[in-house]
């Protein structure tokens, strides 16, 4: 997991296409104005609090919602590899047989089976973006490339960024920063704004909670700051993980030390909303219930950032 490029990123082989697991219109929490948020699939971190676990794997995945399933068995009859079994009105998948062909999702009446991940070309992405154009223009919005980790699909990302640039659409990138420095510096040339995640300042704790240390993340942040990028720091704020005064103080000090324009901080309070998604991926055990931060801790964190003269808001 802790490599800079996911080995299972078969999309890298598909030139001119990317793997996208969600497209959100009227996205109002991912940068300025009204935006289209494109969620690229595949991530090289595995944060315990991840609320888009379907975005972690670098390939197409199958999701199953038992709550939606009406036990009609249509999927069983079309599965070419006999991977599905119906019992007690529920379907179970034998993943040793399943080839992720998606036929079950095609025929499922209730969308109990859905495929996460769609191969899309830049022109397909642009078509969606253009549909939202009037809202983007009216609000000073744009497009936010999020994930997963969008920088793990740099070719398509840069192509899409360029196309947006040509059309005068504001571009933001939501990244963990755990990528090759030359990649992020190259992407920075085609980007108007980074939404850069900072999680924990202690590297071993960072590794404990996300699977990787934070050295590369911090140095990349410094590198793009030095390159003059516009940056908003986003901090997922999680009770008992990174909400302690010491971590916040270190974070604030680091941010204050960055070159370039003064950085803005957005604190994103953790919500325990993703449990059902882990279950749908067939990985309920990977969900970790964490604490939602209380408002007192949030306020005190804001206070600390203010001490460092860092403009801070709660929410994206």
């Amino acid at each position: 997991m802790a490599s800079e490029n996911t080995s299972d990123n078969f999309i890298a082989r598909l030139s001119g296409h990317g793997l996208v697991f969600d497209v959100k219109r009227y996205a109002i929490n991912d940068g300025p104005g009204i935006r289209v948020a494109l969620f690229f699939k595949g991530c090289n971190l595995c944060c315990a609090w991840c609320h888009n676990p379907e975005g972690i794997g670098g390939g197409i995945e199958k999701m199953y919602s038992a709550a939606k399933c009406i036990g009609c068995g249509t999927c069983v009859s079309v599965c070419p590899s006999d991977a599905l079994t119906l019992s007690a009105n529920r379907i179970s998948t034998d993943f040793n047989r399943c080839t992720i062909c998606g036929k079950c999702a095609d025929v499922c009446p209730t969308k109990a089976f859905e495929m996460s991940g769609k191969i899309m070309s830049v022109s397909e992405l642009m078509e969606i973006i253009e549909k939202e154009r009037v809202f983007i223009d009216q609000s000073g919005g744009g497009v936010t490339f999020s994930g997963g980790e969008p920088l793990l699909q740099p070719e398509i990302l840069i192509e899409a960024l360029d196309e947006c640039g040509k059309r005068g659409i504001h571009r933001a990138i939501d990244t963990s920063g755990f990528v090759k420095t030359e990649t992020i510096l190259e992407v920075a040339k085609h980007t108007d704004l980074f939404l850069y995640d900072l999680k924990l300042m202690d590297s071993s704790l960072h590794e404990q909670w996300t699977g990787v240390g934070n050295e590369l993340i911090l140095s990349n942040l410094r590198a793009i700051a030095l390159a003059g990028s516009e940056i908003i720091i986003r901090i997922p704020f999680i009770g008992g993980v990174n909400d302690d005064g010491e971590n916040i103080r270190k974070t604030a000090a680091f941010i204050a030390s960055l070159p370039g324009n003064r950085k803005e901080v957005h604190l994103l309070p953790y919500h325990a909303i993703a449990q059902h998604k882990y279950a749908k991926l067939g990985k309920p055990e990977e969900f970790t219930a964490l604490e939602e931060p209380d408002s007192e801790t949030l306020n005190s964190a804001v206070g600390i950032f203010n001490e460092y003269d860092i403009n801070t808001q709660v929410g994206g």
Binding site: K24, Y26, I34, I70, C72, C108, P109, S139, G141, G315
Partner: protein, 787 residues
């Protein structure tokens, strides 16, 4: 909110609506004595005058703006000349759980003895139902359309600025000049005109008498009042009531009282739909406000207090209750007065003033059901005003709704109004446009468009009742292509609309003949100049609207048939229609496939949206521009449902879009419930594909959970969303800012949520005053939550 307003508000909110038989008794006695002695218009005016002379008047503690239609706040008179409640109707009204109207057994007995016998066989409703043809009755009873005018007078009226420049004495002078110049030699209509003018003149006197009685009462109370401050207020009230409505108002206070007397006059004379509207009230009051502020005779606080008093007055007036089948259509106390705030002035300049902002504050602080209100946004409207309006929307009161002034002006220009008249117009009732002060724009009833598809799929038979409701347009096996099916639908549509128009035209004439409105005619141009009644082509413009319901449901049904039957051939038409007939029993997988795998309207998806555009354009083609019964009068359509989509759903079996039998159909031009899954911007894009200028109003409900409006920045983005919709040609949008948990709790513990206002299809209502179906619909409506 000061102590006075708190008390007045409390009284208004906590008093339970009740019925008064006083008006009916006065009217019945007057008719018994005088019917046949006068022309009908003069008889109507004299009846009105008689009631204004005799009715119990009310001047409550602490009131500044005075006058009630009934004998006290929240007391509603009946209008037996139009539709006479039976003793049973009263029992139902008195005992039903929702929208109850109290009435005592004694009053019911009196009504039974004095009122009912006289009106039997003489009511407007009986005239209508005795006339209509079997085809109409069959269509009406199967719920293909409703008929507004069988219960209440055609109304839908809003005023322009003339009553702030002229008093009743001025109108009387105009009338007298017209009478003096009547040319009995050459004017073939001279005799009729004379009667109309005499009636209008008497109606002016009635309003003056009504005000004078309040002046006298105020003086009397002042004489007995120990508190010198209140005594002075009462003296002032007396002065105001002697100035208006006899003369034009001179002050902010007089201007509000002027409107209020005219409002009361029109809603006492008849029970016209949607009560009465002041139109662009902020624009009308602004000159008085600015003059008095400059002179130092009025403070901002005093102006706000007077507006609060006015607002509470409107809230004191619940809608007159209906009888029979239409009681199901619109279950609400709301009588749809809708104050237009902002917008543009008749010279094209921005209409926002300080008074506009004060009104928004009043709405936010009072938080009451009536009057409805709306923020009108043009390209010139300052961002500050839009933000202030969103600030009120965010409170979750459901108000104000938001209108696109530039588009509705274009709608009116298209209908043939002059530029000035269009700009002075706006939206009244729910979303419908009209030239304020110059137009009779009558809502004639709702059209159940999905039901038209239902009878098409059943060769003219209503499958719910098994009776013939339409014409024969082919058995299902003749529908060998989508195009053939669609063409059959258009033939049924034509038949149904034709039935509806024939009867609406008849009813129009019945009102012109038997229930003219001389007082209303005084204040609507050009009734005086033409010597014609409001119902008889007196107004400068005469529109009949048919309100088309269920665009989302019918679009999604067509999309489901087109895709699954004709294109993908997933199901045969026979199997689909069998499933629909059986309410999808045993075909849940099919129903789920349809729900989840059909492109539905509201997702910015060309497949479904192009069907919506086809249906909409064909509705326009069928209705728009057809002549009504008045000279130069036309039918137009609008896309309004109020709460009728619930009733229409009840009379509709399951539909091919997977909707189960009895469930409500989509409202206004909103997507079907749950069909829009791509957020508000996609909904807006879908709706903007309809050429909305061709209708007299469309309607888009969007429910937002409070989470979407947490920050200042979010409110700004909502403003951008609204501006984007309006850039794309949208007519109207409104927001419910509530969360599901709150609604569920409110359902469980109604007493704890008495003040929970919810926006529904063109108006706001108290959640707990809604019936369970409406509550359920609110809960189910797609939540645009944002994490």
């Amino acid at each position: 909110m000061n102590d006075r307003i708190r008390k007045l508000r409390k009284l208004s909110v906590e008093t339970e609506p009740s019925l008064s038989i006083e008006r009916a008794l006065h009217e019945t006695a007057f008719y018994k004595e005088n019917y046949g002695r006068y022309s009908i218009p003069v008889l109507r005016a004299l009846t009105f005058l008689d009631h204004c002379r005799k009715k119990t008047i009310y001047l409550g503690e602490g009131e500044l703006i005075v006058g009630e239609r009934g004998p006290a706040p929240k007391v509603v008179p009946t209008f037996p000349e139009l539709t006479c409640h039976s003793a049973d109707d009263f029992q139902v009204l008195n005992s039903r759980e929702m929208q109850r109207y109290k009435i005592s057994a004694e009053e019911i007995a009196t009504y039974k003895a004095e009122v009912i016998p006289y009106w039997q066989g003489r009511t407007q409703r009986e005239r209508i139902f005795n006339h209509v043809r079997q085809e109409w009755k069959a269509a009406y009873e199967s719920g293909l359309f409703t008929e507004f005018m069988e219960q209440r007078a055609p109304g839908h009226t809003a005023l322009d600025g003339k009553i702030y420049r002229k008093g009743m004495i001025d109108f009387k002078r105009e009338i007298a000049e017209n009478l003096a110049n009547l040319d009995y030699l050459n004017d073939k209509e001279a005799t009729d005109k004379a009667e109309q003018w005499k009636a209008m003149d008497i109606a002016c006197d009635a309003a003056i008498v009504f005000a004078e009685r309040h002046a006298a009462l105020a003086e009397e109370l002042a004489g007995k009042e120990n508190d010198p401050v209140r005594a002075a207020e009462l003296e002032k009230i007396a002065q105001v009531c002697r100035q208006v409505p006899a003369n034009a108002p001179r002050t902010f206070w007089e201007a509000i009282q002027m409107y209020w007397f005219v409002h009361l006059g029109t809603i006492t004379e008849l029970n016209g739909w949607d009560a009465m509207n002041p139109g662009h009230f902020d624009q009308h009051l602004t000159p008085f406000y600015e003059k008095e502020i400059a002179e130092g005779t009025l403070t901002r606080e005093q102006a706000k207090e007077l507006l609060c008093c006015f607002w509470i007055k409107v809230n004191n007036h619940p809608a007159p209750p209906k009888v029979g089948i239409t009681a199901k259509e619109s279950g609400t106390y709301n009588d749809f007065t809708n104050i237009n705030i902002g917008g543009v002035k008749s010279d094209g300049a921005d209409g926002v003033s300080e008074v506009s902002y004060i009104m928004l504050e009043v709405i936010e602080e009072l938080h009451i059901l009536q009057p409805g209100n709306s923020a009108h946004i043009s390209i010139l409207t300052p961002e500050k005003f839009l933000r202030a309006a969103i600030g009120v929307i965010r409170q979750g009161h459901g108000y104000p709704s938001v209108f696109n002034a530039d588009i509705y002006i274009a709608e009116m220009l298209r209908q043939g109004k002059s530029l000035n008249d269009a700009r002075e117009g706006g939206c009244s009732g729910c979303i419908e446009v009209g030239a304020f002060g110059k137009e009779a724009y009558l809502l004639t009833g709702y059209l159940n468009v999905p039901k038209i598809l239902e009878i098409t799929l059943n060769n003219g038979i209503d499958p719910v009742t098994g009776k013939v409701a339409g014409i024969k347009t082919g058995d299902q096996d003749t529908f060998t292509s989508y195009e053939i099916l669609y063409a059959a639908f258009l033939r049924q549509l034509h038949f149904v609309v034709d039935q509806k128009m024939r009867v609406s035209n008849y009813i129009d004439r019945m009102f012109a003949k038997y229930s003219p409105a001389p007082f209303l005619s005084v204040v609507i141009d050009d009734c005086i100049a033409r010597g014609k009644d409001y119902y008889d082509g007196g107004p400068r413009y005469n529109t009949n609207y048919i309100q088309c319901c269920g665009l989302g449901t019918v679009t999604d049904s067509f999309a489901a048939i087109k895709k699954h039957v004709y294109e993908d051939k997933r199901f045969s038409l026979e199997r689909l229609l069998k499933a629909v007939k059986d309410n999808f029993a045993g075909e849940e997988a099919m129903r789920q496939t349809i729900i989840n795998k059909t492109p539905f309207f509201g997702n910015d998806d060309e497949y479904a949206d192009s069907i919506a555009v086809d249906v909409y354009n064909d509705l326009v083609k069928e209705i728009d521009g057809k002549p009504n019964i008045k000279p130069d009068g036309k039918y137009h359509l609008n896309m309004l449902s109020t709460t009728c989509h619930v009733y229409f759903g009840k009379v509709l079996g399951a539909t091919p879009n997977g909707r189960l039998a009895g469930k409500s159909i989509s409202d206004g031009t909103s997507p079907s419930h749950g069909a829009d899954t791509h957020g508000p911007s996609s909904v807006i894009k879908s709706l903007s594909k309809l050429d909305q200028v061709k209708s007299g109003g469309s309607l888009l409900n969007q429910r937002f959970l409070p989470g979407l409006l947490k920050k200042e920045e979010d409110m700004k983005k909502l403003g951008h969303l609204i501006r984007s919709y309006f850039t794309l040609g949208g007519h109207h949008i409104q927001f419910n800012i509530v969360d599901t948990a709150t609604l569920l709790t409110a359902q469980a513990c109604p007493e704890d949520y008495k003040d929970l206002l919810v926006r529904m299809a063109g108006y706001s209502d108290y959640f707990n005053d809604m019936n369970v179906d409406l509550q359920q619909e609110i809960i189910e409506r797609t939540e645009n939550d944002g994490f």
